[in-house]
Symmetry: C2
Subunit: 214 residues, 2 copies
DNA sequence: ATCTGTGAACCGGTTCACAGCC
DNA sequence: GGCTGTGAACCGGTTCACAGAT
């Protein structure tokens, strides 16, 4: 194990491997090889081994990887052994969908609050939470340690919200609006643009590009 | 303009540039420089120019790019000058959110049908469409030319649905389930895993990695 | 015999730096 | 003078191929 820069692509793949390993765990499988992991995650075995090698290697030569042990290690690397507390701002359909989305809660991301400025939506119950007036957001952040803010509102409102939470302890922002936002140094910003996927697909279909996926 | 392999990353950025240009168009801006595009899309000017260069260059030296002209060119490259017809299978919260999502329709992706196997959901009206019994999906595909299938159902059901639409003219599949799916040669498959973004963020926060984003 | 771990080779995308044009 | 277009240099991630462990 050497101290080298780890590709972000490796981190993203670890996340995918981990979900595959969850399934293996549930199925009672206790050992997997890099080849099996590759097959289950659209990767390749050398890549899988290399990804693990950045962190020292978790396998046994000639045998493979212990599913539970490997999964625990990956989760720890990803920082999923703690609970991350998040809020969602913007209770349109996407915001609602994410509020219900179990793919977050099962991975240690706890949605603590939902906010909107639309009186129609304020007070609405979504899963176990009630949508709050976004005017009380700052106060909520003062009283609850929130790590992550998920933004699912129209592009024109995002920056204003980001400015309002400045200094309230938010460490990361997951932005679904197709616009660049600026936060203070040290705040992680990640942009997710759902249309991009369809448009890359459109390009590939238009130009008959057959991307291999396994 | 030379015939070289175009990075997929370039295609994804073109999609982002185009949405930025839409906004410029709406604001009545008629010329932009590569630097301005870069600033508005978290890229850098050399990258922007290089991306365009793959397709021959659309600008005027010393001046910049004509917003409308450039945007039209990008959309054509991306294959967005035609209408893509899609269905969504799985009317959970994410499926619903995507059914309502205007970010698709405004970019030329028309949702033609919604399907689910839950009697509770069948018949429900979502936007202008009614959720149909997924048993009639094959028939629907026979009667409507559908290009794209968006899968928003639990991982364990995805492959069965993919198998059922074999040979029905589906050219691309956008899969939101965290699992590998197999389709016939030539069918584009793109996987979107929403949890990955949060988990990469978790990793970065845990290891204090400050990714520059502009 | 099998499967991991890893340096080395390779490949492809990004950035640089400057020539070319307005 | 300003901004594009682009070969060249650079950088980083992926793949290869084999040594090492069980």
């Amino acid at each position: 194990m050497k101290k080298v820069k780890i590709p972000e692509a490796t981190i993203a793949r670890l996340s995918v491997y981990s979900r595959f390993l969850n399934r293996m765990e549930k199925n009672g499988v206790d050992t997997v090889s890099s080849g099996e992991i590759a097959k289950g995650t659209a990767s390749n075995s050398a890549q899988v081994r290399k990804d693990f090698a950045y962190f020292g290697g978790f396998g046994k030569r000639g045998v493979g990887y212990d599913v539970i042990d490997l999964n625990r290690n990956i989760k720890e690397i990803l920082g999923l052994n703690k609970e991350w507390r998040a809020i969602i701002v913007g209770m349109g359909n996407l915001g609602k969908a994410l509020a219900y989305y179990h793919g977050f809660s099962t991975r240690g991301f706890k949605i603590m609050g939902l906010f909107d400025n639309d009186p129609q939506k304020i007070g609405e119950k979504i899963d176990t939470l009630t949508v709050q007036d976004d005017q009380v957001m700052e106060k909520f952040l003062d009283n609850n340690e929130i790590d992550i803010m998920i933004l699912t509102l129209p592009a024109e409102y995002t920056q204003a919200v980001v400015d309002r939470v400045e200094g309230k302890g938010i460490k990361g922002i997951l932005n679904f609006a197709p616009t660049v936002i600026h936060a203070s140094e040290g705040t992680q910003i990640r942009n997710v643009d759902l249309a991009v996927h369809l448009e890359v697909m459109s390009y590939n279909l238009t130009h008959s590009i057959n991307k291999e996926q396994e």
